[in-house]
Amino acid sequence: MTIKVKYFASLQESFGRAEESVELENDITTVAELWQRLTGKDSGLPDNVLTAINMEYVKADARIKDGDEVAFFPPVTGG
């Protein structure tokens, strides 16, 4: 399946890109697993990384489906 991944703020800088299109094998199904694939590390999703699927907040175990937009970002600091 194909998904769109977006990064914001400091995560955009550390990944070196704002967004990308990612082709996933079917065995990658959660946000946490996607994070491992993107970072190449075995560790789970850090506490200070927030995630949204299709612009709604989700937890690390949320499932991803074909066509989803998944976003990773640091704690928010608006207002």
Binding site: F8, F73, P75, V76, G78, G79
Partner: protein
Amino acid sequence: MKVELRKQRFTPWQEIERRQTLMQKDGQFGAVVSFIGNMRDSNEGDNVSAMALEHYPGMTEQHLEKICKQAEEKWDLMEVLVIHRVGDIEIGEAIVLVAVWSAHRAAAFEACRFIMEDLKSRAPFWKQETLEEGKRWVEKNTPGQS
């Protein structure tokens, strides 16, 4: 209800007054509570000379509207106005405005506070400050309860 992201500097009092005139509910609302957040020239002991506000186009607007709808379900409100800056901000400028109109003060106070606390802790905005030594991302908002 009106939620707006704004690239240009705005004068919060003019925006509140304009909204209140458009409402045409004079004589109905007894209470208006507003919060205005302004850019300070220092943060965590460091001088700050400028700021940029990043957001998640689409999700930010959607999230703010959801907060306001929740407030309207929870309290008896006549109108809610939220304006939030994005992009480059200068010292002293208004960053955010939340104004709530209601018949009575308890609803107006509590709804305004509720919207601000959710906005600060959940709305997808990120501040990058310019210091003398360079730029840094603000890592965390201060908690809202004293």
